[in-house]
Structure formats: C-alpha cells, structure tokens
C-alpha cells in the first residue's frame, strides 16, 4: 500500500474539516456554558452580541486575537510559546478516531479506544511546560497540580475504558456503539458511567476538579501569564476536551448514534450523537454551577482511594459476568449495589455527622429572653433641650 498524492490531499482536507468542526463545537460550548451558567444563577447570560448573544464567542475571539500577546520577562520564551500547541495538538488528535456515526470518522481504527488513551495523556506535558516556563510561582504551583491530577485520573479513566472494551469485546468505538444498539451501557453499568464522568471531569480540569486552574487560589494556574491568542488556544483546547468527554460518555455509555427503535439515517444519527454529547456537556456545566472546588490532596485521595478501587471493582464484575455468562441484569444489580454502597458510606461518614452537628448548633444556641417592656402610656416625650 503506497501513499498517493490523493491520500495526502484527502488527509489534509479531513484534518482541516475536523479542526474546523471541533473548533465550531468548542466555540459553541463557550456560548452554551455562559448562557447555561447564567440561567442557573438567575442571570440572562450573554445577550448583547447577536440574537441571544449567539455571536458572543465570535466577539470573544476577536478580542482575544487583538489583544497584545505578552510574556513575562524571565520566562523561557520558546517553551512558553510552544506549550499551548502541546496542549492543543493532542486534544485534537484524539478526535481523529471519534466516530460521529458508523461511517463518519477520519480514521476508523480497530483500536480507537487505545488511540484515545494514548493521546489524551499527552496534553499533561503541555500544561506542565506552560506552568514551568511562565516563571510565575502561581503557574508553577498550577503546573505541578495539573501533572499530579492528570496522571492520577488517567488510571480510573483507562480502567473504565477497558471495562467497556471487555463488555463490548472490541477496542473500536464503532463496535462498542453497535453493541449498545438495544440497551445502552449506562443501564448495565451505571457505576462505570458515574466513575467515567467523574474521572473525565478531573481529566479536563472542570469544577470540582479545576484545581490547577483554581482562580481563587492560583489565579488560573498554568495560564496565569498567558494572554491574547495563546490563551485562546488553551481555551479552545479546554472546550474541545470538554466536548470530548461528552462525546466519549455518549459513545461508551449512551449508545452514541444508536437508537433502540431501529437504524436512523446518517444525518439524524449524527444529530442524535451530538445531542447526547451536548447533554453530557451541559451536565458538566451544571456540575460547575453547583459544586465547590476540591483541594489538591483531597482530590488525590479521592482518585487513589475511591475512584481507582471502584473502577477495578467494576472491571472485575464485568469480567466475572462475561466469564460465567450471567444474565446482564445481574451486572446492573452489582453495579447499582456498589454505587449505593458508596453513596451510603458517604452519607454515613460525612453528611450525617455534619447534619447532626448543624442540628446541635441550632438546638443548643444560647437563648436570650426578652425583658418585658415597661408600659408607656404615651409616646415618650423626648427631652426638649433646644437651645432657644
């Protein structure tokens, strides 16, 4: 098999189309996030540029491109300017193998899950470099936080991906989606879906895991010194990643473009897939509007002590179920039981004591009793002490 000129041209066209499509999706998320967050908080959200503020991302982009691109004096200039690309490129390369429908993917690899796992980890390097090269203490702190966070949350993410591979018996996203034609996997392994969602949030640094960006602590972390177009590249990569998590969740758990009532025509299938992805993305924004931020050590212990064991439990249950050929509802049952156990433990160990303490404070407050007020016949005539 030799590479012809036509192949190269097609690859170039495909790459441009993909970058454009993903950029548009990412930019649409900017609007969606601002609008949705605004409405969550009782605000109208963007409403000035275009109808419903739809052109707001465009205005943002123009502003960012026009801004002066400054770098701090002592920064390592080359690394400082390369870092955004190192974040941007991996996050877009992953999209190569994401199928929008059965046939609409740039490369329909048989091992596309593997490809995703391999490339999604790479952006850590860019974030770390961005943090280090900016020569700011905040960004250094943020960069190291990011490295710790991304490395530890790769593991549950990958284990869950392996679980789904084991369930579907294939490493291709297309096959995994085809396997969910009748029942989406979220119904089979809800625990895995929850874990994947949480690990995905951490992977893209979204609340409650926006620890390396934490604007109230490290003021944007690795991005603290970036401005203008370079910052915009980070921004775009972040939204690309956000949508990626939405798309992956849709592919792995929500049945991608499939529909339990038969096969859809291609445009409708793409629309269905995008709808599901957007739904998960909105969920991510919803979490952002509701949750505070974790601390770095708490996040690490959540990752290593809870998510990773639970993801292995999921993997084992799936493998056992497959090996012994138990009916699939047993899987649902096991998954739900584990989820319920985790939730119960959390409530038991953390929520209930806090509520008890609050109730105690409410009850045990020192009561100050009112003295009866002396009865006054007429409104007290104030002492008239006027000088005249």
């Amino acid at each position: 098999m030799s590479v012809t000129l036509l192949d190269i041209v097609w690859a170039a066209v495909g790459a441009v189309a993909l970058v454009t499509a993903v950029s548009i999706l990412g930019v649409s998320l900017v609007w969606l996030e601002r609008k949705f967050l605004g409405r969550l908080q009782g605000r109208p959200g963007p409403n000035r540029v275009g109808p419903f503020g739809l052109l707001q991302p465009v205005a943002d982009g123009i502003k960012l491109l026009w801004k002066e691109d400054v770098s701090p004096g002592p920064s390592a200039k080359v690394l400082f300017y390369v870092a955004p690309l190192l974040v941007f490129v991996p996050s877009f390369v992953v999209w190569l193998t994401i199928p929008f429908t059965r046939d609409l993917a740039l490369r329909n690899l048989d091992t596309s899950v593997f490809f995703f796992v391999a490339f999604s980890t790479l952006s850590i390097v860019g974030v770390l470099l961005a943090g280090w090269s900016a020569a700011s203490k905040y960004s250094v702190l943020g960069g190291f936080r990011a490295a710790a966070q991304l490395v530890s949350y790769e593991i549950p993410l990958i284990v869950i991906a392996i679980t789904m591979v084991a369930l579907a018996g294939s490493m291709s996203f297309v096959d995994i989606v085809e396997a969910q034609r009748t029942v989406p996997y979220i119904a089979l392994v809800p625990l895995a879906a929850v874990l994947f969602f949480i690990a995905g949030l951490a992977e893209i640094g979204r609340t409650p895991f926006d620890i390396y960006l934490a604007e109230s602590e490290v003021v944007g972390g690795p991005l603290v010194e970036y401005s203008g177009a370079h910052w915009a590249v980070f921004y775009l990569a972040e939204y690309g990643n956000t949508f990626l998590v939405g798309a992956l969740t849709a592919l792995l758990f929500l049945g991608g473009w499939s529909w339990p009532f038969g096969t859809l025509p291609a445009p409708a299938a793409v629309a269905l897939f995008l709808t599901k992805s957007y739904f998960v993305t909105v969920l991510i924004f919803w979490v952002r509007g509701t949750y505070p931020r974790l601390r770095i050590d708490q996040m690490m212990s959540l990752g290593w002590k809870i998510l990773i064991p639970l993801s292995f439990v999921t993997l084992v249950t799936v493998v056992v179920q497959r090996f012994y050929g138990w009916p699939s509802w047993t899987l649902t049952l096991m998954s739900l039981a584990t989820l319920a156990l985790a939730a119960w433990l959390q409530t038991r160990l953390q929520g209930a004591p806090a509520r008890a303490l609050a109730e105690k404070y409410r009850r045990d407050a020192v009561v100050v009793q009112a003295k009866p007020r002396l009865h006054r016949e007429a409104p007290a005539a104030a002492k008239v002490e006027a000088s005249s």
Partner: protein, 189 residues
C-alpha cells in the same frame, strides 16, 4: 451525595425562572423617593433668583470639602423684589468628591440645596464632574419640576411669601430670623 443532588435541584430551578437582572442601559431600576443623588441648587420662582444666599454653611459642613461658594450683593434686594440681601455669585460642587451624605441639605437654613435623583453623570473629561452655578441651578429646576418640591420654611425663604409677610411692617431692614418653631440653626452661623 444527597446534599449534592439537592444542590443540583436548587440550581436547575433557576433555569426555568425569569432572570432577576435588569438590562441596564435599556432598563433602569426605579430609584426610591428618598434616594440621595447629587446635590443641586433650587430656584425661587417668586423672585426669579436662586434660594442660595452663599452663607457658606454647607461649604463649611461638607465632610469632603467638595464645594466652594461666593456671594455678592443682591440687585433684586435693592429693587425690592427680594428679601435676600446677598445672593450667590459663584458656586461649584465637585461631584467627584461629593459623597452624597446629605449634610449640606441638613444644615441649609435657606432651603437652597437639595439632593436630587441625578446619579448618572459620567463624563470623559477629567474636570467634567465639576458642576458650576448654571449647571447646579438647571439640575435644581429639573428636580423641582420632577418632584414637586416644596420649601420647608416658605415664610422665611420664599421671596414672595416673605415680602408679603413683611409688607405691613414698613422699612423692615433686618431679616426676620425668628419665624416658626423650627429647630434653631443659628448655632452654625
């Protein structure tokens, strides 16, 4: 977990409610009647001159010293159409320094200054927020029209009323200060 889910319900409820934000340039929230905007000088229509005699009480009592004033002899007094011997010649308020405390209104014995509802006075010029006498008077007139302002002490301060009251007492050269039982403000003078 349960608390988090409750939080989700709390936030999502607002998506279906109307946002509480007012879209500012198009939509102005109502200003309360007592709102203290920037001070302005009022106009005595009966004598067609300002109420202010330039007595400097407000200038002295202003915590931020944002005002300055100068008085001169009132030509209308000589003409007999006013009871004010002195009248304001120059008055300036620097709105950049004004803290809207309302002390000038409290201390004014001549009903001459009032807090208006003016509050949108942004300007591009550095000295754009310095209001001189014509500006203050025009704002005061607008305020009088809009709010239906009434002097608190007309017998003493409104030229028409004061002159009419004084008319029987011929050749009243001394200003009548002991009118009414208003709290005495002479401590300041």
């Amino acid at each position: 977990m349960i608390a988090g889910l409750k939080g989700f319900l709390t936030t999502i409820r607002w998506v279906f409610k109307r946002p509480v934000t007012a879209n500012y340039p198009e939509e102005h929230l109502p200003v309360q009647p007592r709102y203290m905007g920037f001070p302005a000088l009022l106009w005595d229509t009966t004598a067609d001159e300002p109420f202010c005699t330039g007595c400097m009480v407000c200038v002295r009592e202003c915590p931020t010293q944002c005002m300055s004033a100068r008085m001169h002899d009132n030509p209308n007094f000589a003409a007999g159409t006013s009871h004010r011997r002195k009248i304001i010649e120059h008055f300036e308020i620097n709105y950049n320094r004004c803290i809207l405390c309302g002390i000038c209104v409290d201390v004014c014995a001549f009903d001459a200054i009032e807090m208006t509802h003016e509050h949108e006075l942004a300007s591009y010029a550095r000295n754009g927020a310095r209001a001189d006498l014509p500006i203050l008077l025009s704002q005061g007139r607008r305020w009088m029209e809009r709010s239906g302002w009434r002097p608190r002490n007309p017998e003493k301060n409104v030229a028409g009323v004061a002159l009419a009251k004084r008319a029987p007492a011929t050749a009243a050269t001394k200003l009548d200060t002991g009118s009414g039982k208003a709290p005495s403000r002479e401590d300041d003078a």
